[in-house]
């Protein structure tokens, strides 16, 4: 099956959902269900659209890397829709557009098309964030997002003027064959990096994150911090691995920038006492770690880290976002939350411990492996920063968990539906099972990304 259906069907349903508001929520469920099932049947390889062969037409590209991204994003999106669609019916059309944008970002092999999907998913995210009822922060997000995508487009157009193509694989091939000096490519690459960095929450382009996520309830929190973050990381990873391929002094600058992002993110999370701020600063640090791993060329462990983070952040933002909206945001007012909700508490604890990278959980396996590979590459500075950040992360997460489990005062009155609890339990089980049974993870290695082989076949 052609992967275009993952984009076309939700788009058709989005148009239909405008006609009748009554059926709109069902259309969202139908669209996400269709994508979650259909993604297992799509054919790998290059798919030209409209009969225009590469490099003239737009193409979609599917390999194991894309498949993993599609599976994570669509299944998490389905979970968000199942949990929240009842209360967020008016966002039905926007959710479908968001689904279109996210699938398009993962599938497209054309860099201008990527900009279009970036804007589609961006506009959907701005509208979804209006459900926080904080229009000023939504406006900030819109302005930052628009500047980011403008810079990406600016960089892309300069790149087009230099190499004469917009197709990702063709660009990689042309850069190699035309022997364009790397020094002249730095400007477009940096502009594109900054443009995507805004959406990927990288320091210093992430001023919007605090406004959006510190006021986010379960719906916006889980969709922006989990689904969107995973998609952008997958897209960013592909561009870093094949197009940017940072080297020399620029590699050093980018690495230091990302390390500063990790340190500051963890320090800010450590210094705050608000539950949602802890999560959002932690996700800033985690986003920097993922991009850092891609910059260092660690494909598979970066991908596993994206997946583990997306699942853990989904659990945390669903639980904390919901509780914080009902009560106050301060940890002290949420203390003892899990005394009444033991299942939710256990799921959250597993997600948190996996994020911290404790043994028995999948986070540990991922952390150990990437630290080992970095040690083999003698990247001691990165290892020291990552280990220090893990220690800081451990302290503030344990402090948060202790507050949420134990309380001497009256426990907050928050209700979680049974369906939500069941979903959270499945997610937590996933993090636990893959932490103990390690064989499935060793099935994949860095060869999940097959663009280089595909370029050799095509050109």
């Amino acid at each position: 099956m052609s992967p275009i259906f993952l984009i076309a069907i939700p788009l058709i349903l989005a148009f239909l959902s405008i006609i009748s508001h009554k059926i709109a929520p069902y259309l969202v469920i139908a669209g996400t269900l269709f994508n979650s099932i259909a993604l297992w049947f799509i054919t790998p390889g290059v798919h030209s659209i409209g009969g225009f062969e590469l490099p003239i037409g737009i193409n979609l590209y599917v390999d194991t890397y894309t498949m993993l991204g599609l599976a994570v994003v669509n299944l998490l999106f389905l979970c968000v829709v199942i949990i929240h669609i009842q209360k967020q019916k008016k966002y039905a059309s926007v959710l479908l557009v968001a689904l279109v944008g996210l699938n398009g970002l993962l599938l497209t092999g054309d860099l201008f098309n990527l900009f279009v999907f970036l804007e589609i998913s961006g506009i959907a995210a701005y509208i979804l964030s209006t459900s926080n009822q904080k229009p000023y922060h939504t406006f900030q997000y819109l302005v930052m997002g628009s500047i980011g995508s403008s810079l990406y487009l600016f960089g892309l157009i300069i790149l087009y003027a230099m190499v004469g193509s917009l197709n990702l694989m063709h660009i990689v091939h042309l850069i190699e064959t035309q022997n364009i000096p790397y020094s002249s490519l730095i400007l477009p690459f940096l502009l594109m990096f900054i443009g995507l960095g805004v959406e990927a929450k990288l320091l210093p382009f992430n001023a919007w994150v605090k406004g959006i996520l510190s006021h986010a309830h379960g719906f916006v929190g889980s969709i922006i911090a989990s689904v969107y973050a995973a998609t952008i990381s997958f897209v960013f990873g592909r561009l870093i691995l094949h197009v940017f391929q940072f080297e020399g002094r620029i590699l050093l600058v980018i690495t230091i920038l990302l390390l500063v992002g990790v340190v500051l993110g963890e320090a800010m999370a450590f210094s705050t006492s608000k539950a949602r701020e802890i999560l959002l600063y932690s996700s800033i640090a985690q986003a920097s770690i993922v991009i850092l791993l891609f910059v260092q060329g660690l494909v598979i462990w970066a991908v596993y880290l994206i997946i583990a983070n997306a699942i853990a952040k989904f659990v945390l933002f669903t639980v904390i976002g919901h509780a914080s909206k009902e009560q106050c945001d301060e940890l002290s007012t949420l203390s003892g939350l899990f005394q009444k909700h033991v299942f939710v508490g256990i799921a959250t604890t597993i997600a948190t411990l996996s994020m911290m990278g404790l043994p028995l959980f999948v986070g540990f396996l991922i952390k150990v492996n990437y630290v080992m590979i970095l040690a083999n590459q003698s990247q001691w500075l990165i290892i020291i920063v990552l280990i220090l950040s893990a220690v800081v992360e451990g302290i503030y997460y344990v402090r948060m968990l202790t507050k949420l489990w134990f309380s001497e005062q009256e426990t907050p009155n928050v209700q979680y539906a049974w369906g939500v609890q069941a979903l959270l339990a499945i997610m937590a089980a996933f993090l636990l099972i893959f932490g103990i049974i390690r064989e499935p993870l060793s099935r994949f290695d860095d060869t999940i990304d097959q663009i280089t082989e595909e370029i050799e076949v095509l050109f």
Binding site: P135, S146, L153
Partner: protein, 111 residues
């Protein structure tokens, strides 16, 4: 040469975004930035002495000097996206005014 003018326009837009503390002025600055970018895209396709990239009975060969048609197609998409973002920005600006009673960011940050 026209590229420098377009980049200058983008810089003016960016400068406006950094110094303005009013929602409407920020939207205008964003538009100036996008307009500069669109002019830059169009200027990339310009070829001195080139003709419109359409094959006609008088120009029935592809060997002639045509301007690059691709940036023209790209800029159309970019303009449409810009209009969409501006419309959404204005809708949010209206919501900001309804909620806080002001469009001045200095006063908004206190609320």
């Amino acid at each position: 040469m026209i590229q420098y003018a377009a980049i200058l326009m983008m810089m003016i837009g960016l400068y406006g975004l950094f110094i303005n503390r009013h929602v409407m002025k920020i939207i205008v600055s964003l538009n100036v930035l996008e307009l500069g970018l669109n002019l830059f895209i169009i200027s990339i396709g310009y070829v001195t002495g080139g003709i419109a990239p359409i094959m006609t009975s008088t120009h029935a060969t592809s060997a002639l000097l045509y301007v690059d048609p691709l940036p023209q197609a790209l800029v159309l998409t970019s303009i449409v996206i810009g209009v969409g973002t501006t419309a959404l920005g204005l809708a949010i600006a209206r919501k900001i005014y309804e909620t806080y009673g002001t469009l001045d960011l200095e006063r908004l940050e206190d609320k």
